[in-house]
């Protein structure tokens, strides 16, 4: 039997429907308001250069004694964790009683060209952690690192264990040389010095283009063809546009930090193999003894699960927990399942180790 049995009637109807949806989509798009994001109230507790640390306010007072600081990646904006009312990791953590803070890195520009990992980790993160601890009146805080922010949090916790009570890593690469890591495979052939010396800061467009080429047909094409199906639905379109904004609302990368991260993490895999130094501080994961909760996504095309799983054997922690989430790199924050499963898992784990 022929596996392709396309009825010309159906094909024709599909074309007609598509044209109709495009026409009505025109009306929908015209009526769309600017999308909003970042739904939870917050207050500024620390500011330095373009970095701002916020404390989120929930409907009730936090019950947790130890505050949790979210350290987001330098790529993309951190409002992914508080995208909209029904898709907010922050909101759900607050509802569970956590006291949640977040570092917003801001948008880098030419003035930030020479910021390196020392400035970010031993500088901004350290002072942000101190500010949160001071604000909460505690000596140690919890860190929740996301993606690249997770790698930063691992470095920070190793260097300053006296400042961290519990460490949570989400979709965090630890082993950058797993065979299925496409980004890492490509980056190893890049002359990173030539790249940064030429480009200075690495443009968001270039970063986004690289990410999209990991799944080119799906992300350049299929996604937008699928968009026709929801063109006449304002709510669905709003969600789509919000996500689309987040994807392309990316800061440039500070040149020196990008150089060091590519050279030492992607190319050298030093976080796992050893020999990593952030400024003058050595990072040796095998000395890390803190309680660790490692959450990763099983269908993550940016940070393959194996890259995160490597953390299990990399530290000296006797209190290590690992959660494999069924979803992708972004779905772990915004999918319905994520809203239901991830915040309670984090809260329960923290509650057992609070105070």
């Amino acid at each position: 039997m022929n596996p392709i049995q396309i009825d010309p009637t159906k094909a024709f109807n599909e074309a007609v429907t598509m044209q109709r949806k495009l026409a009505s989509g025109l009306k929908t798009l015209r009526s769309m308001d600017e999308v909003h994001f970042g739904v939870t109230d917050k207050e500024e507790v620390y500011r330095e250069d373009k970095v701002v640390v916020y404390r989120f306010r929930g409907d009730k007072k936090p019950t947790a004694k130890t505050p949790t600081l979210i350290v987001y990646a330098l790529v993309n904006r951190p409002y992914m964790v508080d995208l909209q009312e029904d898709k907010s990791l922050v909101r759900n953590l607050l509802a569970q009683g956590e006291d949640v803070y977040l570092i917003d890195w801001g948008y880098t520009d030419g003035a930030d060209r020479w910021l390196n990992l020392d400035d970010y980790i031993n500088g901004y993160i350290r002072r942000s952690v101190d500010a949160v601890a001071k604000n909460a009146g505690v000596k140690k805080i919890n860190l929740l690192g996301i993606c690249q922010g997770g790698a930063f949090s691992l470095c920070f916790s190793t260097i300053y264990p006296e400042k961290v009570r519990n460490l949570i890593t989400m979709v965090t690469p630890v082993d950058f040389h797993t065979p299925d890591n496409m980004l890492s495979q490509w980056s190893r052939k890049i002359d990173i010095d030539l790249c940064v010396d030429t480009m200075g800061n690495i443009s968001a467009d270039m970063m986004n283009y690289t990410y999209l080429t990991l799944k080119p047909v799906r992300l350049f094409q299929q996604k937008y063809i699928g968009l026709v199906d929801i063109l006449d639905n304002k709510d669905d379109m709003e969600n789509f546009l919000r996500m689309e904004k987040w994807i392309f609302d990316s800061p440039d990368q500070a040149g020196e930090a990008f150089r060091e991260f590519t050279r030492d993490f992607f190319q050298g895999n030093k976080l796992l193999k050893g020999g990593l130094k952030i400024g003058s501080k050595k990072v040796d994961l095998s000395t890390l003894k803190l309680p660790i909760l490692n959450i990763f996504a099983e269908q993550d095309h940016l940070v393959p699960p194996a890259a995160s799983r490597a953390l299990a054997d990399a530290t000296a922690s006797k209190d290590y927990t690992q959660i494999a989430f069924k979803g992708g790199h972004i779905g772990i924050y915004v999918s319905g399942r994520a809203q239901r499963d991830v915040p309670p898992a984090i809260h329960n784990w923290l509650a057992e180790r609070d105070g």
């Binding site: 596996p3 392709i4 049995q5 010309p8 109709r20 467009d205 080119p216 968009l227």
Partner: protein, 468 residues
């Protein structure tokens, strides 16, 4: 008129379908964007002669809705979307542009498939043909690339994506190719490099070589992309041929497209993870950077001659500034600056004390003036205490203990004052002064207490002497 439906009762009512289609178009043309009807030029003359009117074989008379048109409807839609900017300046046209660009390929696929499907249906072969090389759908799929000018659909997809990251390199290379610098380079390359302009000629030659290298690496990268597309097609065909009887047949163009996307992605991932691809990718990126770097150097040379600041100069300043910031912060946190502040405060207080002279020395202890502060910072404390302690030690043990304890408190408070001076942060001079004043006040109180204690011990000694 030949009645196709009468001869093929199972076939759809093409007239009704045609009407439905025209209604859709009409709706679009009377929509909000009527002023810029995105479909206005899709089928020129359509209104005058309905292309859907069946004449004999309906397929023969039917204008293929996907046929090449002067204006691609999706491009036209993009223009219409682009005009949807709202009064607040915001716009959703980015999404529309991306969508329209992405749909070009899908549209091309539909076009070729529709053409193939219609011709096959017309000959009555549709659905009966076994899988094989001559399958019209597969043939149509193979022609998708041809319909797009023979371009690799993957590369086409990349190019359609808007953004400097995607376009920048090629545009830059093209601009460089057509720039006077390039024309200059070609001419220069025919001449030996010597004399006054030797260095300049060499730079131009290097630029030309960077461009040639970029073109070469670009071709190697495109070869890998073509390999990925080819592998995707292989997987696609293999999957089709291995679909079992129980599998649901692919019965819509969208399902067909999604099936193809899955195979294309799998083929791409397989090739993209290969060492050959990584090498080609790296070479391509590095060649782009080398070319960019050369263009930047050329630009710097030109702008430098015009007296404009260059990127290199700005970079140098930025680098030095960041290094200074690091040093300053490190020194600040290590207390170096704090110590300097303390020293200045100490010296100022000492000068003030010297100026005030006796008046300052006789000032009431409780006021904790700056004069006292100066005294507390000088090494003057033991003189007042020692006699008290010595005398006390000659008295009763209890009184002596009290006196010693008081002396310890004085020493402790003064040590605290001294520590304060070391630990003081450079937040402000006034804050340092206030801290010292507080510490000195504490020292003074302890001293007063010690004095009282000494008086008591004197009294006790007298009593003891009287008793004895």
């Amino acid at each position: 008129m030949f009645d196709f439906n009468a001869r093929n009762p199972g076939m759809p009512d093409w007239t009704a379908m045609a009407q439905q289609y025209m209604d859709a178009l009409k709706q679009a043309s009377t929509g909000p964007a009527a002023a810029a009807n995105p479909f206005g030029n899709v089928w020129p003359g359509a209104a005058a002669a309905n292309p859907f009117m069946p004449v004999g074989n309906p397929f023969a008379g039917m204008a293929n809705p996907f046929a090449a048109a002067p204006v691609n409807p999706f491009e036209a839609m993009t223009r219409a979307f682009a005009a949807t900017d709202k009064s607040d300046g915001s716009s959703n046209s980015d999404v529309a542009e991306r969508m329209a660009a992405s749909m070009k390929n899908y549209f091309a696929m539909l076009q070729t498939m529709a053409t193939a499907g219609m011709s096959e249906q017309a000959s009555g072969a549709m659905g009966d043909k076994n899988m094989g090389d001559s399958n019209p759908w597969l043939d149509a799929m193979k022609n998708v690339a041809a319909a797009q000018g023979g371009e690799n659909p993957l590369l086409s997809a990349f190019r359609d994506f808007g953004g400097n990251g995607a376009k920048g390199f090629e545009q830059m290379a093209n601009q460089f190719m057509s720039s006077p610098a390039m024309a200059d380079a070609r001419a220069m390359l025919q001449l030996p490099t010597f004399g006054m302009s030797r260095e300049r000629q060499e730079q131009v030659q290097q630029g030309f070589l960077a461009l040639l290298d970029f073109q070469e690496k670009s071709k190697a990268y495109q070869t890998q992309m073509a390999r990925a597309a080819q592998r995707g097609n292989q997987i696609f065909q293999t999957r089709l041929s291995t679909r079992s009887e129980s599998d649901k047949p692919i019965d819509t163009p969208r399902a067909f497209y999604d099936f193809w996307v899955d195979a294309a992605e799998e083929g791409y991932a397989e090739v993209a993870l290969s060492p050959e691809f990584s090498q080609a990718y790296g070479d391509y990126a590095n060649a782009q950077m080398a070319l960019r770097s050369h263009v930047q150097q050329e630009t710097e040379r030109t702008t430098g001659e015009l007296g404009m600041p260059t990127r290199s100069e700005v970079n140098s300043i930025g680098k030095r500034l960041q290094e200074l910031r690091r040093e300053f912060r490190a020194a600040n946190e290590a207390g170096t600056v704090a110590e300097l502040h303390d020293e200045i405060a100490s010296l100022r207080a000492e000068v003030k004390a010297l100026r005030d002279g006796k008046a300052a020395a006789n000032a009431p202890a409780q006021t904790a003036s700056k004069a006292e502060l100066g005294r507390s910072l000088r090494k003057e404390t033991p003189r007042a205490r020692k006699p008290v302690a010595k005398r006390a030690s000659k008295r009763t043990p209890k009184a002596a203990h009290r006196s010693k304890s008081a002396s310890k408190k004085v020493a402790s408070a003064k040590a605290a004052a001294s520590r304060e001076s070391k630990d003081a942060k450079p937040a402000s001079f006034a804050a340092s002064i206030a801290r010292f004043a507080e510490a000195a006040k504490t020292a003074t109180k302890a001293e007063s207490k010690a004095t009282r204690s000494t008086k008591k011990s004197k009294k006790a000694t007298r009593k003891s002497a009287a008793k004895s």
